[in-house]
C-alpha cells in the first residue's frame, strides 16, 4: 500500500511539473496584459516600466525559471489587477468552491444512489419509469437554466431563499441543488446500471438460496460490487465541479475559483491564472488519489495484486 501511494505521488508530481510549463505558456499566449491592466492613457514608457517590474520583458524561458523558483517557495506572484499575492486571492476563492462542490456532491449522492438502487430493484415498474424520467430531465437541463428557474421560483415567486451571495447556509441551497440535481442524473443512471448487473451476478443468486436477508444482499454485497465505477465517476464529477462550475457560480454570484479564473483569463492576470490552475490541479489530483485509495479499500483484488 505504501509503495502504491508513493508511485501515485511521484506520478502526481510529474504531472504537476508538466502542468506548470503548459499553463505558463498558455497564459502568455493570451496576449499582452498591459493594455488591460494599465489605464488607456498610459504611455509606452509606463508599459515598459510595468513589464520590467513584473519581469515580462525577459525571455520566456527565464521568466519560467523565476516562476518555478518562486512557486517552490510558495510564491505565485502578485496579481496584476488587484496588486495582492495571487495565491492568497485564489485561496480565498477556493474555499467557497470546495464547499459548494462538496455540498453538491452530497446532494447528487443522496439523490442518485437511492434512486438508482430502487430502480434496479424494481425493473419495469412505474418507479423505474419515473426514475428514468428524472435522470433524463437532470441530464437534459443545462445548469444555468435550472439555476435561473430555481431563482425564479424560490427567490422571486416565493421568496424563501436568497438568489445570490455567500455566507449563510441558506445561500448554499439553490446553487447546490442546481449542481447536485445535474450530477445526480448521471449518478442515478450509473448506479442503476451497475446495481442491475450486480444483482444478476451468481453470488447474489447463491446468497438468495442460502437464505441471506435481502437487505444484506442489496446493501452489503450488490452495492459494494456496483460501487467501483460509481466511485470513479464521483471523483471525476467532483473534479469537474471544482474547475467547471463557472456558469453556476456566475448565476448565483458565488465567489468561487471558477469565476475568478475566468476573470483572470479575460484580464490576462497571469499570476492569478497560474495560481488558480495549479491549485485546482492539486485538488483534482488529491481527489484522484483518494479515489484510488478507496478502490483499494473497496476491492481487495486491487491492493493485493
Amino acid at each position: 500500500m505504501a509503495r502504491f501511494l508513493l508511485t501515485r505521488l511521484g506520478q502526481a508530481l510529474v504531472t504537476l511539473a508538466l502542468l506548470t510549463v503548459l499553463i505558463f505558456v498558455l497564459a502568455r499566449l493570451t496576449g499582452d496584459p498591459t493594455p488591460l491592466v494599465l489605464p488607456s492613457e498610459a504611455t509606452e514608457a509606463d508599459r515598459a516600466f510595468f513589464r520590467q517590474q513584473y519581469g515580462l520583458d525577459r525571455p520566456v524561458h527565464e521568466q519560467y525559471v523565476v516562476f518555478l523558483r518562486n512557486v517552490l517557495r510558495g510564491d505565485f506572484g502578485i496579481s496584476f489587477r488587484y496588486r495582492e499575492p495571487a495565491f492568497d486571492l485564489v485561496l480565498a476563492a477556493i474555499g467557497p468552491t470546495l464547499q459548494l462542490a462538496g455540498v453538491s456532491m452530497l446532494v447528487a449522492i443522496l439523490l442518485g444512489l437511492p434512486l438508482g438502487i430502487a430502480a434496479a430493484l424494481r425493473p419495469g415498474s412505474w418507479l423505474a419509469a419515473t426514475v428514468r424520467g428524472y435522470a433524463s430531465l437532470g441530464q437534459a437541463m443545462p445548469t444555468f437554466w435550472t439555476g435561473l428557474m430555481l431563482i425564479f421560483v424560490f427567490a422571486i415567486s416565493i421568496p424563501v431563499l436568497p438568489s445570490s451571495g455567500y455566507g449563510t447556509a441558506a445561500n448554499f441551497v439553490l446553487p447546490a441543488v442546481t449542481l447536485g440535481f445535474y450530477a445526480s442524473a448521471s449518478v442515478t443512471m450509473l448506479t442503476w446500471a451497475n446495481m442491475t448487473e450486480a444483482l444478476r451476478s451468481d453470488f447474489v443468486q447463491m446468497e438468495r438460496v442460502l437464505g441471506i436477508p435481502r437487505r444484506l444482499i442489496v446493501l452489503k454485497h450488490a452495492l459494494r460490487n456496483a460501487s467501483l465505477p460509481i466511485v470513479t465517476y464521483l471523483g471525476l464529477q467532483f473534479g469537474l465541479l471544482l474547475g467547471g462550475a463557472v456558469v453556476t457560480e456566475r448565476v448565483f454570484a458565488w465567489p468561487g475559483v471558477g469565476q475568478m479564473l475566468v476573470d483572470a483569463i479575460l484580464n490576462r492576470d497571469y499570476p492569478v491564472v497560474q495560481a488558480a490552475v495549479m491549485l485546482t490541479a492539486v485538488l483534482v489530483m488529491t481527489i484522484n488519489l483518494v479515489v484510488d485509495l478507496l478502490y483499494a479499500v473497496l476491492d481487495p483484488r486491487v491492493s493485493r495484486s
Binding site: S201, D202, M206, R208, V209, G211, I212, H221, N225, P300
Partner: protein, 326 residues
C-alpha cells in the same frame, strides 16, 4: 414411495415464460417424488428444463415465470408459501448449490466473512443443531488449511476449493434436501469425484436427500440412487439408476447413454445424437423426441406418449417402450 412420506413431491409442475399467447414451457407436467435421504440424479441436455425445475422448487425463478402445479416439501406446499416463510426454509431445510463455483462467492469479502454471515443467519433462526464454527464447517467439506482459508478472498482459492466452501455454506445447518445444479461441470476431472463424495457423506452424516442436476451421466451413475431423464421440459424416463443404465427404455435415454465416449479396440468412439433439441416455443403435438428418434412411428408425431410402468419404480414416456422395439 415404498416407505413413509416423501420428502419432496412435485405434482403436475408447469413453468412457462414469454407471452401467454405464445408460451415457452420450460417445464411441462413434471411429477417427481423424493424420499428422505435419497440421492436423485436429473439428467438432460442444456435447455431440457432441469435448472428451471430446481429454481421452481427454490422459488427463485424470475418474476416473469408462470408456475402452476404443486411442490410439497416436508408437508408444506412451497408454491403457495408466503415469501417470508420460504426465505426461512432456504439454506436451512432446503439448500442449493449453484452452477458456477468460480463466481458464486462475493469477490469483495473474505471466505470467513461470507461464511460467518451464513452461520449468523442460521443461528438467528435457532434450532440448528450441527452448525459449529466456521472452521468446523470447512473441515466437514475437507478443505485444507481452513483457518487460512477464512482469511482469504475467493480469488485466492481454486474452483474446487470454492465449491467446497459453497457446499459447506449450503449444508452448514444439515438441510433435509440439497439441490446441486451442475456441481462438477466447472471443475477439473480430478476434483469432480471428491465433490461427489461430499454429497454421499452428507447423506450419511446428516441424512440429507440430494438432487444432483447434471448432463454428466457418469456422475449420476456413481452417485445417485435414482435417475430422471428430461427432454425438452418433460420427464421422459425415471427409474433406479442401476436399472436405467443397464436397460434404458426410452430411445432418448438410450441415445444419451450411447453418446458417452467409450473405448472399443483401443479407439475412442463418439456417437452424438443426430438432430437438435427442439424449440420450446414450437413443440410438435406428439413426442418432442420423435424427430430425432430412430424408433419413431407415425403415432409418436401425433400424440404425446402416456406414462408407462416398465419395472419396479421404473416409468417411461414412450409409445414404443412396451413393445421392446426401442
Amino acid at each position: 414411495m415404498p416407505h413413509g412420506e416423501p420428502l419432496l413431491a412435485i405434482r403436475g409442475l408447469n413453468v412457462e415464460f414469454g407471452l401467454p399467447a405464445r408460451p415457452v414451457r420450460a417445464v411441462a407436467d413434471a411429477d417427481l417424488t423424493l424420499a428422505p435421504g435419497e440421492i436423485l440424479g436429473i439428467a438432460g441436455e442444456s435447455g431440457s428444463g432441469k435448472t428451471t425445475l430446481c429454481a421452481a422448487v427454490m422459488r427463485t425463478l424470475p418474476r416473469t415465470a408462470r408456475v402452476s402445479g404443486r411442490v410439497e416439501f416436508a408437508g408444506k406446499e412451497l408454491l403457495s408459501l408466503p415469501e417470508r416463510e420460504m426465505a426461512r426454509l432456504r439454506g436451512r431445510d432446503l439448500a442449493m448449490v449453484l452452477q458456477n463455483p468460480m463466481t458464486s462467492l462475493d469477490p469483495l469479502y473474505t471466505i470467513g466473512n461470507q461464511l460467518e454471515e451464513v452461520l449468523r443467519e442460521r443461528r438467528r433462526g435457532g434450532g440448528a443443531g450441527r452448525l459449529g464454527s466456521a472452521v468446523e464447517v470447512l473441515r466437514r467439506v475437507h478443505l485444507t488449511a481452513p483457518e487460512l482459508r477464512l482469511r482469504q478472498y475467493p480469488h485466492q482459492l481454486s474452483g474446487g476449493m470454492r465449491q467446497r466452501v459453497l457446499v459447506g455454506m449450503a449444508t452448514a445447518a444439515a438441510p433435509r434436501l440439497l439441490i446441486a445444479d451442475e456441481p462438477t461441470t466447472a471443475l477439473d476431472a480430478s476434483i469432480q469425484d471428491e465433490i461427489l463424495i461430499l454429497f454421499r457423506e452428507l447423506r450419511e452424516s446428516a441424512g440429507t436427500a440430494v438432487v444432483i442436476v447434471t448432463h454428466d451421466l457418469s456422475a449420476i451413475r456413481r452417485l445417485s440412487d435414482r435417475v430422471v431423464i428430461m427432454y425438452a421440459g418433460r420427464i421422459v424416463e425415471e427409474g433406479p439408476t442401476v436399472e436405467v443404465f443397464r436397460a434404458p427404455r426410452h430411445p432418448y435415454t438410450q441415445a444419451l447413454l450411447a453418446s458417452l465416449p467409450r473405448i472399443e479396440e483401443e479407439e475412442v468412439v463418439l456417437q452424438p445424437i443426430p438432430g437438435q433439441v427442439p424449440d420450446l416455443a414450437r413443440l410438435p403435438p406428439g413426442c418432442a423426441f420423435a424427430a430425432r428418434c430412430p424408433a419413431a412411428i407415425p403415432l409418436c408425431r401425433e400424440e404425446r406418449p402416456r406414462e408407462r410402468t416398465v419395472g419396479e419404480r421404473h416409468r417411461v414416456f414412450c409409445w414404443r417402450a412396451g413393445e421392446g422395439a426401442a
